[in-house]
């Protein structure tokens, strides 16, 4: 465990040297919220539009942070042999993946915190104190779903393939999940099965003060299960080529 923490610390130090990831995880949702978030009379998901869009943008920032940068880095590190180098140390085999998930959790914090602050002070979202941490933590843990997917993609594909793959997934889940704008009709129905929709809907239902349907939480767990399984298969099947 000490080794895993040492690696996590080194990874965080790396991120401090390389701040490009902020553009996707923080700047993009912040700009979208500033442009679209303050629609005073509008509503979505049964709550004020500003509140919905706050949760949506927090989710957007967190999941893009968990997916895009991570998948690219893992793929690159596999190609360059860093994963191989780590396997020659006493660090347990699972530590690399655990570290990536921990680092992903750390990198999504700024996006979530900044967007929620923006919602409160720019979007005039007023909530009971307990709802803020509930929403933040839901989005935060929801992002691990995409951290697991990033591991699956990073292990499976070469760096130059990773970029288009993650972009397709990123846009698909962002749009279908209703992160950019609420969907209606057929696409809206399909979109209800995405983890991005489920995360936002849980937050919206908390704000509405209604009981969160169990299906939403189960949905998130199922997605997590699927991506963890894909990641496990990817790690195992590439063991001899890493």
């Amino acid at each position: 465990m000490a080794g895993t923490l040492a690696l996590t610390k080194a990874e965080l130090s790396r991120l401090m040297h390389n701040r490009r990831y902020f553009i996707f995880t923080v700047a993009f949702p912040v700009i979208l919220y500033l442009l679209i978030g303050r629609q005073v009379s509008a509503h979505a998901y049964g709550i004020a539009f500003g509140a919905y869009y706050m949760i949506a943008m927090a989710t957007f920032g967190a999941f893009s942070g968990a997916l895009n940068g991570n998948a690219q880095r893992i793929s690159q590190e596999k190609k360059e042999g860093w994963i191989r180098q780590l396997r020659l140390t006493p660090l347990p085999a699972s530590a690399y993946v655990i570290t990536k998930i921990l680092v992903s959790l750390a990198t999504t914090v700024p996006a979530i915190v900044i967007v929620l602050l923006l919602g409160r002070f720019y979007g005039n979202v007023h909530l009971p104190a307990w709802q803020w941490p509930v929403i933040a933590v839901t989005v935060w843990f929801g992002s691990t779903i995409f951290a697991a997917l990033a591991v699956a993609i990073g292990y499976r594909f070469a760096p130059e393939q990773v970029q288009p793959i993650t972009l397709i997934i990123y846009f698909t889940f962002a749009i279908l999940g209703g992160l950019w704008f609420p969907l209606t009709g057929f696409l809206g129905k399909v979109g209800q099965f995405t983890p991005t929709y489920e995360a936002v809907k849980i937050g919206a239902d908390v704000i509405r003060g209604i009981a969160v349907p169990a299906g939403l939480a189960i949905g998130l767990v199922v997605w997590l299960g699927i991506f963890v399984a894909l990641a496990t298969v990817a790690v195992r099947s590439t063991a001899e080529s890493v």
Partner: protein, 361 residues
């Protein structure tokens, strides 16, 4: 002695030679029964003074280990033991199975059959116990951190490491310790990799083609620091296709070709096995059957009145010629390097087992 007149092993630049299929074709070299022995003979003394040695448990043992990639048998029934304190070179041409063998030893790949032990344990647990430090050709470094940060990280992962400052000094990287890892030259990168292999103060150090990206000066520095590691009692196993390096650095050489161990001995023994000296002279009446029966003869070539003999015991060979009443003229005895020995051993193997497989991979 079933040999016909055999083609002379070509001399010249050994690098270009065996990378293009050894420069030897179809020669059957007599007397080269280079059967590999499984254990070293001269290691008892080396073992005695080694702290933390584990009695008679080999540091590394391969028991009939094979690795199959599809139709290619990259490693074929490899059996060997390494004892504490030895410096062993795994010598073979590209594609001989060196890297695959080291990968299996380091638990990066699983043998198709056979068993590998390191310190009496399975490779994975031996690696995780921190008792081995390794440097692979394919091993990468974490980008975007400084050299010092990286060495500190890997040091922290080991149970009983060297102080970071000592590692930086030994690997000769202290002067650029604050540079970013992704902004180093090839030679500098290689030295950082070396630092990662020694920072854990591990009992066994495994290096795959360690000097591949190094210039002459860096190479010399590298072997100097490697000698310090060996003097400190570590066991060293390195793969190389530089014969010179194996000859100078190793006290034991394992010659490997097409996945099989062909010879195992000291550099001197390997040279002797292939016929360590070339004897040449002029002779008026050449009697080939007589020459082929000479003691120590490994290889014979006759061109007009010029006789060239590759011999494992040039003195005995020459005396036998003279004792038979011949008066050879213009006698020259030259020493054959490990290079020719290596070529002879692998050429023998290729002649017996077909030429193609060695070039795969």
């Amino acid at each position: 002695m079933q040999s016909k007149l055999t083609q002379k092993l070509k001399q010249g630049n050994y690098m270009s030679q065996y990378e293009t299929g050894y420069g030897v074709s179809g020669s059957a070299t007599a007397g080269l029964a280079a059967t590999a022995t499984a254990t070293a003979t001269a290691t008892a003394t080396a073992t005695a003074g080694y702290e933390g040695s584990h009695g008679r448990t080999p540091v590394v043992s391969f028991e009939n280990v094979s690795k199959q990639y599809g139709r290619l048998r990259a490693v074929d029934g490899l059996t060997l033991d390494l004892r504490a304190g030895e410096t062993v070179a795994l010598l073979g041409p590209n594609g001989a199975g060196k890297s695959t063998s080291l990968d299996m030893l380091l638990a990066l790949r699983k043998p198709t059959s056979g068993r590998i032990r390191m310190f009496g344990d399975d490779p994975y647990h031996a690696v995780k116990s921190g008792r081995v430090g390794a440097m692979l050709q394919s091993g990468g470094l974490m980008p975007e951190v400084t050299v010092r940060e990286l060495v500190e990280l890997i040091t922290k992962l080991h149970p009983n490491p060297e102080p970071v400052q000592t590692t930086l000094k030994r690997a000769g990287i202290a002067q650029f310790a604050d540079q970013r890892v992704d902004r180093l030259s090839g030679g500098q990168t290689q030295r950082v990799r070396f630092a990662l292999a020694i920072c854990g103060k591990s009992e066994l150090i495994v290096l795959d083609e360690p000097t591949a990206a190094m210039d002459v000066e860096t190479r010399r520095l590298f072997w100097d620091s490697m000698k310090e590691e060996v003097a400190a009692g570590r066991t060293l196993l390195f793969a190389t296709h530089y014969l010179e390096e194996a000859d100078q650095a190793a006290d034991r050489i394992l010659v490997i070709n097409r996945g099989r161990l062909l010879a195992d001995g000291t550099p001197a023994e390997i040279k002797a096995r292939a016929g360590a000296r070339r004897l040449s002279f002029r002779l008026d009446k050449v009697d080939e059957p007589f020459l082929l029966g000479l003691p120590g003869l490994v290889n014979l070539e006759v061109r007009h009145d010029v006789v060239q003999i590759q011999s494992s015991d040039s003195d005995a060979t020459l005396y036998a010629v003279i004792d038979a009443g011949y008066r050879p003229r213009e006698i020259e005895v030259t020493s054959l390097g490990l290079e020719q020995a290596f070529l002879a051993i692998t050429a023998e193997d290729d002649a017996t087992n077909g030429n193609s497989a060695g070039e795969t991979n």
